[in-house]
Symmetry: D2
Subunit: 364 residues, 4 copies
């Protein structure tokens, strides 16, 4: 077989994406080759492209990917839920993979924290198997990846963010231990925050409050389950806190979820909580997120603060089930609000970077 | 009845304790009058005496108290575990009390966090019933207090700290979710830290590491279950962290417990933890415990940080049971290492303040 | 004040209800007098009326009650969530009450399990304060009851079942530890089962399967969140089990909830579960519910079986919040499908007993 | 290499063990060859030998095994805790193994419940690699097994039961959610029960009560942490229940653990529990363990019943750490109370079967 396929490759941070051809080789027994049907641009793709993350170059970015099975290794019979897999099936898969022994997975059930875990969209394009990122016509799925079949009724737009933003928010909202009737605050109403609002509602919250500094996001959040929103750019922090606490009777929010990536919101989140409240940090994924907190407030208010990074394989299944169960309730389809061809990846990145689109999709 | 009894009263912070007589009145139906057999000086008594806490004056300090029942209100038949109470029984009781409706108790099972909760050793001596602190011949127990009968075999020295330090550490170590075989670090080896080391062991930890800046405490800690100790005054923080991590194979401590009252140890505690580790803050009980942390480490390492203040009624029972079950294993008796008469309270406070004694007891 | 009011009283099991007048006395400081606006007939009222439960006679039945405050004791300022109470407010309240010390409440946070707990609709009508049941014009609320203000937008029909069936099902579904995406089976589609289906969905279940032997209930259940239903009267047990397991891919249900009151369904429920599944028993409230199980299946399948009876005060708040948050999603209003005057209580009981109505309401 | 080694093989249930020689082949990259230093006879070995379990024949029994590494596959660098492995190291390993994808492991973190999981001591001796059981000079460790290095100070007698009875009881006692100060009943004082008593104590129980029908076991249990014991052969069930409840003030045991293998004890265990108590079934590993229970008691008493079978990899580490941390407190060494050569396996089985020894060890 001497097939080749195209990929959008960048040679160094901030240099133009170029379409290149690489050979496609037959899959090994424990691999899958996927024909990509859609990839979306995640904020971390932009960080990588701008050189803020140590991605090897030349590289193919993109880890929010779905596609149809082109070749299926002979050892792979079923997806992670036990459904039979065959050529032609449309699938999603975990954005990370790890093969081999791992203390964190086997002892602590944290496969996402194995030392040496790898992520799609983070490899050299020049090396075999070349295709390990979303912005290409094909993608290989390597051993140690969790694969999940997609139901036909789900559109590509609804399905593509599942293996990154949606699954991460399943992990984050699970850690928030949301009980039926809880009052939940979401700090940051980007993609993660929108799914966060919707999931808080889907887990039984009575009241979801969103906070962001971009006015347009506040309106969108209301469609995703936020009962109230506050514009942090137009109110003083103390006013926002006071307004939130007034809504969360009798004594503050049961849970606060940080997905804005700004460490300075932490003291405010602590103020919003009731005694015994839970605080989950999910957005502070960049090093050096220094913030000064009053640790006495943690003690006096019995605050439980928890960091969540990435997700467990079960969260991928839950992410799919969440989207399937709530697609009539929340307009997930509208999140992917612009589509580009592979050759126009540069423009897609520009718009995603400017935030003039919510989620840019590439259809190779 | 025109009985009177003596109390050691201070008129203002840092003024001498004076023995005063106040009338003893018959108990109401829901009260108990106790003849104090021993009270110990808690660090917070010293803070109050020095004016760092807003205690009303003239006042009777002391909340770590035990005694024998002198009068029993007719409505009080049993202790909190269901054992029958009668005049002459030796008892301990919760250091705090609250009577009436309370959202936090009834909805969230946090009676220690009721708005308006009161504490023994924190009232005006001039007002009825006068005797509500430990440094006196008698003490009234008011409604909303949990009472617990003491077994005869337990010495006063072992029993007196139960209702404060021991019960608080039951609460703290419970929050640390110590599993069998865990590696646990205790930051601060004062009274709380010593009980903390012993409880970590009694909950199944395989490895307990104590850190303090006072050399003599390190030796004492080894008798209370610490397998290793480090002197934070003699090593650089990074060295301590490295040494701790080397002991906690393969990747750091499962739990860290802060009971030293110094917020600056928090970043170090975070470094010591493995991914997914638990951090319980128990000693930062004074306002303004500001500290700068890297919130990204909380996210990346999936740290669970939790503040604990005071204790639940069940922890008082557990505290007694812990001391009873482990008194042959750990030298609890040695913690109360000096005794004073009521008239010598001044000297007792001086020694406790200088830390030349571990726990000073007053026997009225 | 020499006011009187009417109540529907029965002198002995199965004897006619008679309207009687009893005096209304002023409330004590810790009591509330409520003018009843609606009471519904619970299955346990019928059991009591038929003599299967040891209710004292002559008695006033009814514990699913709402009403407006007629007199408010001077000590009662707020409801359990902290909202201010005043005369005229429409309220619900816990069906049970207990006043005084209680080991189970204070140590284990199980106030519903206090020895000596009392329930509305279970007292002698001849004794002060006479009005302690729902089928009367007034009802006294005694100390140790949790009171909760009702929002104006909630209809009486939606509000009345909250303090019994809805709150109990919050307790039951909480114990089922439903995770987002779970497959949940509900055995029994009476009032409890309908709320159970809806709550499973509201807690994030992807798949809710209802089983009952009454065909008409299966259709109703579909409006309350059941995705699939099976008629246990028309299929063999093994067929039902097989069909349920086929729906719950890959290996059975994550949780099964029993609210049918028939012990024989337990082995079937165990078969339906996946390894590690949860089984909550909520309907077996009558003594002598003997059933033979294969305990080896519990061991081999790691089944977690749990009994739930009554509810915690927090569940009352959650019940109200659940109904408020989901009243557009599920037709709660339709559950109360017939209304009667107090003088027609006999007929109401007859219809409720015959199950020709789903929930019969009495409007005094 | 044309080495051979000996194994004690049985050709059919209840036929004599015969020493046979099989070839030893070089290990593959992901295998280990161990020179067996000790194997102990588990009750399930006897069941297999007597034909009550479907073991293939001719076979080599034995899954409680330790030994030293003779050959180490090139892919195996570290044990499950991250310690480096080398030839000569003394190790234990999980009694079960599974290689490949598995829904239960990857989604539900239950690797012990993978479909197709295999167990040492359960294979045909005639097939490669021949040596997969304990009663032989060598044993191969196949991929999907968890390996754990043994500390030098631990004797073979203490170490051998770790990978079966001890680890299983870590799993069982974890499921019992033993809190500090709990009262715990252990039904059955065989090997599992003895470790169960000791672990309940090591997890902080204040009171451990053992029940068995063999008098001699009661005395042994007292050395392993049981505070009280009752002989079920000499007292009526109701008397035992009454006596146990009298010890577990105020209202029954917090947890009951079944490790006797007799389903009829379940109703008694339920009676012993307090409201809200936990019941863990660990001994009912044979099919057809039918028992009639009153399901109403589960509901009324809020009983949580849970079956536990086998153990998680983390429990193997905890089992080792438990034995290491408590070997001065409990006489683990005395459990292996008789030793045999490989050629005398028949006699060892006879004595183990007659229960004239507690744990028979084979030293090849």
């Amino acid at each position: 077989m001497s097939r080749t396929a195209k990929a959008a490759v960048y040679d160094a941070p901030n240099t133009p994406f170029v379409l290149k051809e690489y050979p496609l080789r037959p899959v090994k027994n424990d691999e899958v080759l996927v024909k990509v049907t859609m990839s979306t641009i995640c904020r971390s793709d932009i960080h990588s492209y701008e050189g803020h993350r140590p991605n090897p170059c030349p590289g193919i970015l993109g880890h929010e990917i779905i596609g149809t099975i082109d070749q299926l290794g002979s050892d792979i019979k079923k997806d992670m839920r036990g459904d039979t897999l065959k050529v032609g099936d449309r699938i999603t898969w975990s954005e990370y993979f790890y093969h081999g022994e791992c203390y964190y997975r086997e002892v602590h059930d944290m496969p996402q924290k194995c030392h040496g875990v790898r992520k799609y969209g983070h490899d050299l394009a020049e090396e075999d198997p070349h295709f390990l990122g979303g912005f290409a016509e094909y993608c290989y799925i390597l051993p140690g990846t969790w694969i999940l079949k997609l139901p036909d009724e789900l559109s590509d737009e609804e399905a593509t963010p599942i293996n990154c933003g949606v699954a991460t928010m399943v992990s984050v909202t699970e850690a928030a231990e949301i009980q039926m009737g809880d009052a939940v605050v979401v700090q940051g109403l980007g993609l993660l925050g929108l799914y966060g609002c919707a999931m808080a509602k889907a887990r039984g919250a009575r009241l979801v409050i969103g906070v962001d500094a971009v006015e347009s996001r506040l309106d969108v959040a209301k469609k995703f389950g936020a009962d109230h929103t506050f514009n942090a750019a137009k109110m003083k922090p103390a006013e926002v806190t006071k307004a939130v606490r007034a809504l969360c009777k009798p004594d503050g929010a049961d849970a606060v979820i940080e997905v804005c990536g700004v460490p300075d919101v932490i003291p405010q989140g602590m103020e919003m909580l009731r005694t015994g409240g839970r605080y989950v940090l999910g957005g502070l994924v960049s090093p050096g997120a220094n913030v000064t907190i009053d640790a006495n407030m943690i003690v006096k208010k019995w605050i439980q603060m928890r960091g969540i990074h990435n997700y467990h394989p079960r969260h991928l299944i839950q992410a799919l089930d969440f989207v399937m169960a709530n697609r009539d309730r929340f307009p997930f389809k509208s999140i992917v609000d612009s589509k580009f061809q592979l050759k126009d990846l540069q423009e897609a990145f520009r718009k995603a970077s400017e935030r003039t689109v919510l989620r840019a999709a590439v259809i190779p």
